[in-house]
């Protein structure tokens, strides 16, 4: 298991913005597998267009703030929904789901503060999932 560096650190606007870059739309097979980390990891990597450092940094800060949520399964279920274990999950569907969750969070006022940035909780959880499953 990868050890996540959860030391709090300040995040520059540039890194932060890169982390919030719009979610790309792509199609990827998301096969059911015993090695779920690999499939989630590959989906996230495609979702983030292979630029993961900033998302992982934000996610690590979120996990430092919410250690009780540091569960890949729980985060994947929350962010990706019930279908995350099923096969052939399109990444664009995941992107749409995250956008909808994020929009709902902003409407409900469910924000989380990360290094001063006020983020939708769902986008912070997506990045937290990335911090847990993507290799450094």
């Amino acid at each position: 298991m990868r050890v996540v560096d959860r030391r709090p650190h300040r995040m520059a606007r540039r890194r932060f913005l890169a982390g919030l870059a719009s979610l790309p739309v792509a199609w990827v097979a998301w096969p059911a597998s015993a090695d779920a980390d690999v499939t989630v990891a590959s989906a996230l990597r495609r979702l983030f267009n292979d630029s993961i450092d900033h998302q992982v940094a934000i996610g690590s800060l979120y996990l430092a703030k919410e250690p009780a949520e540091a569960s890949r399964q729980w985060l994947a279920g929350h962010v990706c929904g019930a279908s995350w274990m099923s096969s052939d999950v399109p990444v664009h569907a995941l992107a749409d789901r995250v956008r909808a969750l994020r929009h709902d969070d902003f409407c409900r006022g469910d924000l989380v503060e990360i290094d001063g940035w006020l983020l939708a909780r769902s986008e912070a959880r997506l990045f937290a999932l990335a911090a847990l499953v993507l290799p450094a």
Binding site: R13, L17, F106, L111, G116, W117, L118, L119, A120
Partner: protein, 528 residues
């Protein structure tokens, strides 16, 4: 007519129908309204037409918080503090006048609609065109303002005065007036009253050379600003330690000032042009500022005060340690100096060379605006413990100096925090940007309040009320327990909203001028 105090013999007793003490925006607004009425008006002003350091020093006092100086946050010359101001004009909101259960001591005894006509009459004083403080009344060059959730945020809009300096702007009009006399360098040092304190009989005047005079009038208007009006009332209480009239010890209490904390910043996730109404400062050839604040329903739901945030300081790029050192080195070299720690700076530049090169390029090419800082201006809750009192120290005129003892509380911090949070919610929902909050606002201690900006909005120390014992002046701005003493100042504000106070000061002054004219017509002034 315009005269200097040293042009009249010492010991003179001047007479007038109405004596106005103070030649700032409030005093000048009243004097203008009374021009041509047939009433004899005498406006006495401590200063002259130009700034004078010795006179300004009469304003020295003690601010226990120590974050602004009492003699640097207001000005003692004809025109008053309009000598130095930013020109931001906005009326108070409707809810600012209401009694709010979650804001102790809130509520005016008048409503916004009572003052609305006077706002409109005050507007030309500030050399601003049409009275329009709703974003819907403006064309932002076809860029729509954001469609905000009314349960969360509302727009704020300030119209910008040039800014008008009331002294130079209106001195000629008053000089030519047949019934208004302006007496410069005349310092009011005491208000005299009959033994009961109910009827004011005169105002004592002095100058820095020991000359004295007294004014006798049918009515007196104190228009000396939010601190000096109170000082004069307290200093005049020979037989009444709590102040003239029946003010029940309230004179000097409920001091308010607008804290301006650095609230954080916003980074655009959409094109910068979508934000034009919020960062450009001129539309339709008029200076304006558009901001945001919690809607009335959000204030009630969240139990917070009124507040505003506005953009300031565009963000083009990310500051870096290396670039900071480059700037420090460049500034030192510009002044022909070699900094002591030059080696450390050079090392920082080399360590951070990629940032230095990137930022140098962006500065040279003036890259696109990526965001803005956010500055807040919040209402403060009226608190009787925030107070002006007199000290044993005396100024050159033998007047006791003032001590300001006050603080900003938790409700103000939460108000700014919640306001920034609402902005983050709405910018996120609309998909236009992300907000970063000043993290000091998240700490439940007073560190956030130790680094605030202040702009001389002194309010509340002679608050208006409809009942004796709850305020210092009544709804006509007449001091309770007196028959002929009035206050025209932000000191009468029971609450302060987020709006800069000068437009409201002028509106209330014009309202008071109408009252005085009506009183004169009905013979009430002569009976005083």
């Amino acid at each position: 007519m315009l005269a200097r105090f040293d042009e009249i013999p010492s010991g003179t007793r001047l007479t007038a129908d109405i004596c106005i003490v103070g030649g700032g925006p409030a005093g000048i607004a009243i004097a203008r309204e009374l021009t041509g009425t047939g009433l004899s008006v005498l406006l006495v002003e401590s200063g002259g037409l130009e700034f004078d350091k010795d006179i300004q020093n009469l304003y020295r006092g003690v601010n226990e918080r120590g974050d602004f100086s009492l003699h640097k946050s207001r000005f003692r010359l004809f025109g008053g503090t309009s000598y130095v101001w930013g020109g931001w004009c906005a009326p108070l909101d409707e809810q600012d006048f209401e009694s709010r259960a979650w804001v102790p001591n809130s509520g005016w005894p008048i409503r916004k609609e009572d003052i609305d006509p006077f706002y409109r009459r005050a507007q030309p004083l500030f050399e601003i065109d049409r009275y329009r403080y709703n974003v819907e009344e403006w064309d932002f060059d076809a860029t729509p303002v954001f469609s905000l959730d009314p349960e969360k945020l509302a727009h704020r809009l300030w119209q910008l005065s040039p800014p008008t300096e009331f002294g130079p702007a209106y001195v000629d009009q008053l000089r030519k007036s047949g019934n208004v006399r302006v007496l410069l360098y005349a310092n009011a040092t005491e208000i005299s009253a009959d033994p009961s304190g109910a009827t004011i009989s005169g105002v004592k005047l002095r100058d820095l050379n020991g000359r004295q005079a007294e004014v006798s009038a049918a009515a007196y208007v104190l228009a000396c600003g939010g601190i000096e009006t109170t000082r004069l009332l307290l200093a005049s209480a020979r037989n009444a330690p709590d102040g003239l009239g029946d003010t029940r010890g309230l004179v000097g209490r409920y001091f308010m000032e607008h804290p301006h904390p650095d609230a954080g910043g916003v980074i655009f996730t959409t094109a910068a042009k979508d934000f034009r109404p919020y960062y450009e400062k001129e539309f339709e050839s008029q200076g304006i500022v558009v901001g945001l604040g919690p809607s009335a329903s959000a204030q009630e739901r969240l139990g917070i005060l009124n507040c505003s945030v506005a953009f300031h300081g565009p963000i083009y790029h990310e500051p870096s340690a290396g670039m900071d050192s480059v700037i420090k080195l460049a500034r030192a070299l510009e002044h022909g100096q070699w900094p002591d720690n030059a080696g450390a700076h050079v090392a920082r530049v080399l360590r951070d060379l990629d940032d230095v090169l990137r930022e140098s390029y962006l500065r040279a090419t003036e890259g696109a605006i990526r965001g803005f800082g956010l500055i807040a201006r919040t209402e403060v809750a009226p608190n009787p413990d925030n107070r002006i009192t007199l000290t044993s120290d005396r100024d050159q005129l033998d007047m006791p100096r003032v001590r300001l003892d006050w603080n900003v509380g938790e409700l103000e911090r939460v108000t700014v925090e919640q306001t920034v949070n609402l902005v983050a919610q709405e910018f996120g929902r609309l998909g236009v940007g992300r907000v970063r909050i000043n993290q000091l606002l998240l700490e439940d201690d007073d560190r956030w309040s130790r680094n605030l900006s202040w702009f001389g909005h002194h309010m509340g120390t002679t608050r208006m009320s409809d009942s004796l014992g709850a305020g210092v002046v009544d709804t006509d701005c007449k001091v309770f327990g007196t028959s002929n003493l009035y206050v025209a100042s932000s000191s009468v504000f029971p609450t302060c909203g987020y709006a800069n106070p000068t437009l409201t000061i002028a509106a209330l002054a014009i309202r008071l001028a109408d009252h005085l004219k009506m009183s004169a017509k009905s013979g009430l002034l002569q009976e005083s």
